[in-house]
């Protein structure tokens, strides 16, 4: 449901910060209340993660990662994100190219459908795959080796289990991070229009040359942020993965699931230590987002400055 949030296509104009004669006490009260609100609801949770993680010192902090189960969880998370992010990256590029550069019927519907996973509870995202691939699911019987004389041996040989296993975790991750890259790219490409691509074509470039040398460089920062956000969400996904994971330590646990297990075992320090890893990832994501926005704004301001120069001369 993050539809309208955190998209880079909107770049603020060089701002005019006019308080328009708000009296100082109004400003002070509004700023004060806002800061308090952010402190209570955002800064406090952030701070508590690191405080709790370091409660027993650095040694205990690093010990939390020395655990083989923790390492297995990190490996699995990297694997799931390593598959989900490239898939959704390719999808995002294809979808934004089709939607931003061409006119066709049902485009609005397609955009809505792409954003659909935002509106689906992560728990339900997990559930749908259980229903599809589970023993009683639509595709479940096809996965049951007994039902399939010719596929059975192959499935057996490859030990193919989807739900409560790694493939299910990957699928859930793909589903919940499905819209992120597309969501960043579509408005960006739409804003840039088609003229540069058409210019490249009139200059004799092929479709691939145009895409690689004109389109991609133009959206690289938005693409970069989309991938970073997609990755952060892939690594941090909890609900959907929880439903599809077998919760087997060292085998089907991702980092967030490992945090849950540690927390439920009252091993708070270790839980927060592992959680701090994901928190750092979130913070890096925010920093990159602002860097990217800053870059976009700089390009825009350079354009505005050039226009000013033109009027001055």
């Amino acid at each position: 449901m993050a539809g309208t949030v955190s998209t880079l296509a909107y770049v603020a104009k060089p701002r005019q910060r006019r308080s328009l004669g708000d009296p100082w006490w109004v400003r002070a009260a509004l700023i004060g209340t806002s800061l308090l609100f952010v402190a209570v609801f955002v800064v406090a949770p952030l701070a508590v993660v690191f405080t709790e993680a370091l409660r027993k010192g650095w040694q205990a902090y690093f010990a939390a990662f020395a655990d083989s189960d923790a390492r297995a969880a990190i490996r699995l998370t990297l694997l799931a994100a390593g598959i989900a992010v490239p898939l959704n990256l390719v999808f995002g590029l294809a979808a934004s190219w089709a939607i931003a550069k061409f006119e066709f019927r049902g485009k609005a519907l397609l955009i809505t459908l792409i954003e659909l996973p935002f509106a689906v509870s992560p728990v339900i995202a997990g559930l749908v795959y259980v229903l599809l691939f589970g023993a009683q699911g639509w595709l479940g019987p096809y996965l049951d080796t007994g039902n399939h004389p010719w596929l059975g041996p192959w499935i057996n040989a490859h030990d193919l289990q989807i739900i409560f296993a790694v493939p299910g975790i990957v699928l859930a991750t793909v589903f919940v991070t499905f819209p992120f890259v597309a969501r960043e790219l579509i408005p960006l490409m739409q804003a840039q229009g088609r003229d540069e691509e058409l210019a490249a074509l009139t200059l004799g470039a092929t479709g691939w040359q145009t895409f690689c040398r004109i389109t991609l460089p133009n959206v690289k920062w938005g693409l970069f942020y989309g991938v970073v956000l997609c990755n952060a969400r892939a690594m941090g996904e909890f609900g959907a993965v929880s439903v599809l994971s077998g919760h087997i330590r060292g085998e089907t646990n991702t980092i967030p699931l490992h945090v849950e297990i540690l927390y439920n075992e009252y091993n708070l320090q270790a839980a927060f230590a592992v959680a701090s890893l994901l928190t750092l990832l979130a913070l890096v994501t925010l920093v990159l987002k602002n860097l990217v926005e800053w870059r976009h704004r700089r390009v825009l301001e350079a354009a505005a400055a050039a226009e000013l120069r033109q009027f001055a001369t």
Partner: protein, 276 residues
Amino acid sequence: MPARPHRNVLPGFGLSLGFTLAYLGVIVLIPLVALFARAAGLSWHDFLAAVWSPRVVASYELTFGASFLAALFNVPFGVMLAWVLVRYEFPGRKVVDALVDLPFALPTAVAGIALTAIYAKNGWFGQWLEPLGIKVAYTSLGVWVALTFIGLPFVVRTVQPVLEELEPELEEAAATLGATRGQAFRRIILPALRPAILTGFALAFARAVGEYGSVIFIAGNRPMHTEITPLLIVTKLEQYDYRGATALAAVMLLGSFGLLLLVQLVQRHYARPGRA
């Protein structure tokens, strides 16, 4: 050679749209259709039993009630935050601006354990609140806190761009016409922000309704009291009650899609030509 009926100058339309539709279908649409097909296969009696038992109804009340109140709480604070970020210059403004996105980037499980730690009896806030008789952790108030956290970016990020685009000339014009600052805000600024506020509210609400990770740690999960509907789905699933889980999921999905539709209707209503 007759011209083909339709020709695109830019290449790759068929390939990119084809891949988009295929991927969308496999990853999103087929699974969702499967869910509704399964739900439709249930008998009316089974369906009703799954989605209208007292325990389930209690979970609806909590889920939708707390989500609604959390989104509502985020409206004034979100607008205020957006206002402060757009209109005022103060040290740390950029940091605050960046932090607004944190609930969006922070994994929900991390948010859940962090909030629980803060509001637990011996936590940073809990130790002060409990003596006052305010229990947050493991109560419905805790659910509200988690959902407020989750919904925080939505109102801010929908209102902020509108506020940035709003011409200061409008307010200056109002001032030259004798309006006070309060009147200018109520009669000029607020109406301009209304669609963004409604959209932000609905997005925050819809996101909160489906939220799972951040809530289950702080809720306590006592049936009839602090059990949210998504948790109930997981519980049913763990008990191999696939029918119950499916029915409940179908109801929740319809609720979410209804909210999404509402957002679209709001945006279409305000985008209608001839509307200021």
